[in-house]
Symmetry: C2
Amino acid sequence: MAKLEGKVLVAQGGGPTAVINQSVAGVILESRKFGQVTRVYGALHGVNGIINENMVDLTEATTSSIETVAVTPSSGLLSTRDKPDEAYCKNIFEVCKAHGIRYFFYCGGNDSADTCRIVNQQAMDNSYELRVIHVPKTIDNDLKVTDHCPGYGSAAKFVAQAFAGANLDNRAIPGVYIGVVMGRHAGFLTAAAALGRKYPDDGPHLIYLPERAITKEKFVGDVKHAFEQYGRCVIAVSEGIVDDKGEAIASQFTGGEKDSHGNVQLSGTGALGDLLASWVKETKLTKRVRADTLGYLQRSFLGCVSETDQVEARAVGEKAAHYAIRHDLDGSVAIKRVADYVVSYYLTPLETVARYSTEMPDAFINEAGNGVTEDFLKYARPLAGVLPAWQRFDAPTVEKVMNK
Amino acid sequence: MAKLEGKVLVAQGGGPTAVINQSVAGVILESRKFGQVTRVYGALHGVNGIINENMVDLTEATTSSIETVAVTPSSGLLSTRDKPDEAYCKNIFEVCKAHGIRYFFYCGGNDSADTCRIVNQQAMDNSYELRVIHVPKTIDNDLKVTDHCPGYGSAAKFVAQAFAGANLDNRAIPGVYIGVVMGRHAGFLTAAAALGRKYPDDGPHLIYLPERAITKEKFVGDVKHAFEQYGRCVIAVSEGIVDDKGEAIASQFTGGEKDSHGNVQLSGTGALGDLLASWVKETKLTKRVRADTLGYLQRSFLGCVSETDQVEARAVGEKAAHYAIRHDLDGSVAIKRVADYVVSYYLTPLETVARYSTEMPDAFINEAGNGVTEDFLKYARPLAGVLPAWQRFDAPTVEKVMNK
C-alpha cells in the first residue's frame, strides 16, 4: 500500500479540559515525524474554524512552545459549541479536500465523534482518501466503549481536592455545606468528591448523582440523619440531578436556555445550590448553611492535573497519529484497563462512540442512592492519582480543671 | 529576669486559610525548644475550646505529624466565630490561670487581636504573668500595621489560577464570565485575579472592588465596552461590592443573616453572581453569560499554596514563640517588606491591630474604579508567588483557499 501523502488537520470541540492540549500536542508532535505528512494545520474554534478556513500552520510551531501549551488547561486551538449536521459536515469535507488534508483529528466528546463519523462517510462517498480519528476528551467521563476518558481524571482530582478542603473547612466551623459539581447525565465527576475523604467521619457525607432521582423529602431526611451523626454535613450534588419526573432540577433557573445541541444550560449559575440550601435552612438544623457551585474551575483551573490523566491524554493523541498515518485506519481511540493500574489503547469504530453517552453503572452507586460504592473508589482512584498530603492533629485530650 | 515557667496555649479563630496550620506548627515546634515551657496545649474551636476546657496536649504530638498538619489547609485545631466580650475574656483568663498557662498564642484576624488585647489587660489587672501574642492570618489581607497578612498569598494564588483558567476557557468559548471573589470590605483578594493575566487581551478585563461603589448603569456600560474590544469579557467581582448608598449588594440575598460579629453573610450563595449575570443578559450582548462564585475553595482548597506565604506563615508562628518566651513580650507579629522581595518581622502593640481593619489604598485602584494599577501588581506578585506555566499556540495563519 502506497503511503498517503498530505496534510494533517487537528481541532478541538466542546468544553475544555485540563489536559486536552496534551492530546493535541500528541497529534502534532507525532504527526510531524512521518515523512508523508507535508503540513500540520490546526483549526481555530473547532469545526467552525474549518468551514471558515480559520486555521494556523502548526508545522511552524516550535516543539518547546507546543510542550508549554500541552500543560496549559483549556483548548489551545479554541473551541466551539457548533454541532455539525450533514450540510455542515459537507463543508468540512470540502475544505479538507481543497487544502489537501488527508488526516483529520478531532478531539472532543460524543458529538465530535459523530462529526468524525459523518465526515468520514462523506469522504468515502466521494472516493477521497481521508483518515478521520476521534480523540476522546470529556470531564464527564460519559463516552461509550472506553474504560474512561482523558480529562476526567484531572477534573476528578480537582473535585476531590475541593471537597477534601471543604470538609476540613466544615469541620473547623461546623454547619451544612453543599457543593454543586458539573455533569449533565453522568455522575462520575460528582462521585469523585468521595476521593477527598480520609478519616471515617470525613465528608462528603452525602452524594447525589443524576442517575438517581431525588425529592425534597428524601434530601432533607438524609441531611438531618447525617447532621445528627456528625454534627455537620458536607454534600456533593451533581448539577444534573433530576426530580421524580426525571426533570433536571436546575433547568428551572436557567430560563430554559439551550445550546445548539438542545441541552438546557445547567452550569454558570448558583441557583441550584441556593435552592438546596433553602431546603436545609427550613429544617432549622443549623444557622450555618452554605452552597458553593464549583463551576468552570473544574475544567480549566490552572495547576491541578492528574499525572495519570496527563500521560493518557498525550498517549491518545500520539496513538491517533499512529492509527491514521502509519496504519491507515479511521476510528475513535479508546482506553482499556489491563491491570491495576496499567492501560492499553485501541481503536473502536466511530459509530460505537458517536452521539450516545453512558452513565454510572449501578455497581458504583450505593443502595440508598446518596453515595458511592467501594467499586467506584477502586475505579476512580488511579485516574485522579495521588492527592496532596493532609492530616489531623493527633494529641491526647487535656484533663479539665475547672469544668470537671 | 527569671524565666517564666509554665504552659503554652495555642488556638485558631475565624475563617481558615491554606497556611494557618503553618503558623500553629511554628508556635508548637518552636515553643517545645524552650526549657521553661512545661506543656504545649491546643484549644479546639478557638476561644470556645478554652472556656470549655476543650483542649489537647500537643506536647505529645510527633514532630512529623505536626509537619503534615502544617501543609494541611483549614484550621487543624478547628475554629470558632465567637467574638469574646469582657466577660468571655474573663473566662479565658481564668482557664489560663487554672491550667498554669503562661503563654497564649491566638492565630486570627483583627477580632482575634482584640481578644488578645482584652485577655492581656485582664492578666495585668490581676497581676498574673501571661504573655499574649496575636499571630496574624486572613485571606482578606485587611489587618492594620503589617505589610501583608499570612493566608493572603495562597488565597491570591488560588484566585489568580482560577482566573487564568477561566480566561483560557472564556477565550476558547467566548462570552461573558463573572467570577465572584471573597472579601467583605477589602478588595485585595479580588484584585489578585489580575495576577492571572499574561497576554495583553487576557482577562479579567474588569475588576470590581468593595472600595468603589458600582451602579448597574456603570457595570453594564463597562461590560459593553470590554465586549466590543475583546469579543468576550471576564469579570472579577468582590462579594462585598456596594451600591451608591454604600450597601453591600449581596446582603439582599442572604436574608440579612448575621454572624456574632454583626457581619451580614455574603458568602455561600451564588445570588450576587446570578444578579450581575442577569444585568448582562438584559443587554443581549451575547447568549453566553456565566457566573461562578469561587466560594470556600478560596481559603481551603487542598493543594494550592504560595511558597512565600507558606514560609512566612511558619515564620510568624516561630517569631511569636520567640517574642513571648525568649523576650517576654506581648503584641501582634507584623511583617515589614525590606526589599523586593525580602521581609523582616517585628512586634506591634495589640491595640494597633485589634478591631479595625484596612482597605486597598487608592494607589492600587485604577481611576475608572474597574481595575487595578501596576503598583498593586508589584505589591501582590511576590506574595502569590510563581504560577504554573501556560501559553498560547504560536503559529502562522494558513492562507484561505475557498473563502478568499
